[in-house]
Every structure is written in structure tokens, then in C-alpha cells.
């Protein structure tokens, strides 16, 4: 049972849109990170879909790109959360509306 490629691309677009919406509307820094993860996932789905439906690829480029992308996304999440925790320790808040000490 293979879903058509267009369906995968649609799912990926909607996922990306949800992530973008989360990033734009959320005010909690951690939930913004959640949105970023969703957007990265959407990109990964596209890579996998085109790898699977494209011409046979002996180099496995799409697959390995996703592998590295997942590794980098994990690293990004770790560093992001560490930064958020550090900010939280300073200000006791993860609300981005209150982190305005650089406001001129």
C-alpha cells in the first residue's frame, strides 16, 4: 500500500504550516522549539518522499541527508533547551514577552 507522492507532500506542507503557526503564536520558548521540531520534520518527510519516489539512487542521498538532519535536529534541541533553562534560571520565566531586557 503506497500513498501517492502528492499526499505525502500535502502532509508535509500541513505539518510545516502547523510548526510555523506554533512558532509565530506561542509565547513560551519551549513550545516555540516544539514548532521548530515540527518544521524540521516536515522537511524530513519531503526528503524521504522524494528519495522513495524518485529514480533509484545507489548513493542513498535522501536517506542519509535525513539521517544527518535528525542528528542535527537533536543537537539543536539539546542546545536550545539548555539555553532556555539558563534563561529560566535568570528570569524565572520562559515567557518571551518578558524577556525584553534588550529592549531599547
Amino acid at each position: 500500500m503506497m500513498p501517492p507522492l502528492a499526499l505525502l507532500l500535502t502532509v508535509s506542507s500541513l505539518l510545516f504550516t502547523c510548526g510555523l503557526f506554533a512558532v509565530l503564536t506561542r509565547r513560551n520558548a519551549i513550545l516555540i522549539l516544539v514548532g521548530i521540531e515540527l518544521m524540521l520534520n516536515a522537511a524530513n518527510i519531503n526528503f524521504i518522499a522524494f528519495w522513495r519516489y524518485g529514480p533509484p539512487d545507489p548513493d542513498l542521498t535522501g536517506l542519509l541527508f535525513v539521517l544527518f538532519s535528525i542528528a542535527i535536529a537533536a543537537a539543536e534541541a539539546a542546545v536550545g533547551l539548555a539555553i532556555i533553562l539558563m534563561v529560566f534560571r535568570h528570569t524565572r520565566s520562559t515567557d518571551l514577552n518578558r524577556l525584553n531586557s534588550l529592549h531599547g
Binding site: M1, M2, P3, P4, L5, A6, L7, L9, T10, V11, S13, L14, L15, F16, T17, C18, L20, F21, A22, L24, T25, R27, I30, L31, L33, V34, E37, L38, N41, N44, I45, I48, A49, R52, Y53, P56, D59, L60, L63, L64, L67, F68, I70, A71, I72, A73, A74, A75, A77, A78, V79, L81, A82, I84, L85, M86, F88, R89, T94, D95
Partner: protein, 162 residues
């Protein structure tokens, strides 16, 4: 699988449940990979995203205790309208692009017999520099995360002087 997209949409509902729904979305994405035939990526996705990233996010939510849900919801309407105004054009463009892409390859129904040996071989021959770079990156990230997360007030453990 369409459930996946629906969940991504439902997911916007509440702050704390958002992280758990994110985990569910990521797990469903892993299932999607398994369905398509990218078994290895599906498993990696499950381990790294569901196992590590989602748990990490849940734990940091636990630590930081986002308590201002009511305030967030009260502030909602304006932000939601603004967000939709920004997001809908993007969605429209993406979906339009997908719908205009004629002649998409139908895809072979035979699932590609991808052996792990092939994968490992190309990982460590063609892509060996990238693997090394990722290794360096992960090391740097680990050191950096520990440095960030360390309590700055606490003195580093000194050796007990005689």
C-alpha cells in the same frame, strides 16, 4: 496518516499537552516512514525524536512549569488571528505548488530492499567526512549543553585539600 496532519492541527490546543502531542506526531511520522519503506529512518526517527527530543521537551516543561495558561488563552485571539494571517499564505503557496506539480512519479510498489550493510557502507565511505563532522558537532553540543545547564552559583567541586 491523514491522522498525522490532523493531529498536527489539534496539537495547537494547550501548552502542556502540546509536548505530548508533539511526541505523538513524531511517532506517527516514524510510522509513516515505516509504511513507505524507509525502515531504518523510521526506527531512527522513533528513537531520536520520540525517545530523546520529546522526553527532553517534556522534562524541561516540568522544570520550568509554564503556569500562565489562562493569560496565554486570554491573549489568544489577537495572536491567533495574526498567526493565521501569516501562516495561511504560506500554506496556500505550498499546497498550490503541490497541486501544480503534474507528473509526479508514481513510485514503484516494490519496497526497496535496502540492506543495512549498504547503508553503513555508504555512510562510512562516501559520507565519512559528514559522519566525522556530525561527531564533532555532537561533542561540542554535549559540552556546550553541560556548560549552559551548570549552576553558575555553585562552586566547581574542589579537590579536598589535605
Amino acid at each position: 496518516m491523514i491522522l498525522l496532519a490532523a493531529l498536527g492541527a489539534v496539537w495547537k490546543a494547550r501548552p502542556v499537552h502540546a509536548a505530548l502531542l508533539l511526541a505523538l506526531t513524531l511517532a506517527l511520522t516514524a510510522g509513516l516512514y515505516l509504511t513507505i519503506g524507509a525502515d531504518f529512518i523510521g526506527l531512527v526517527q522513533f528513537m531520536v525524536y520520540v525517545g530523546a527530543v520529546a522526553v527532553l521537551i517534556v522534562f524541561s516543561l516540568l522544570i520550568t512549569r509554564p503556569g500562565d495558561e489562562a493569560e496565554e488563552l486570554a491573549r489568544r485571539p489577537g495572536a491567533v488571528v495574526g498567526g493565521l494571517a501569516c501562516v495561511l499564505p504560506v500554506a496556500a503557496v505550498l499546497l498550490y505548488a503541490v497541486s501544480q506539480a503534474g507528473d509526479l512519479p508514481p513510485g514503484t510498489d516494490a519496497s526497496p530492499t535496502l540492506s543495512l550493510a549498504t547503508l553503513g557502507q555508504s555512510l562510512f565511505t562516501t559520507y565519512a567526512p559528514a559522519v566525522l563532522a556530525v561527531g564533532v558537532l555532537l561533542t561540542a553540543v554535549m559540552v556546550g549543553a553541560v556548560l549552559f545547564a551548570r549552576d553558575p552559583d555553585k562552586k566547581p567541586p574542589t579537590r579536598s585539600d589535605p
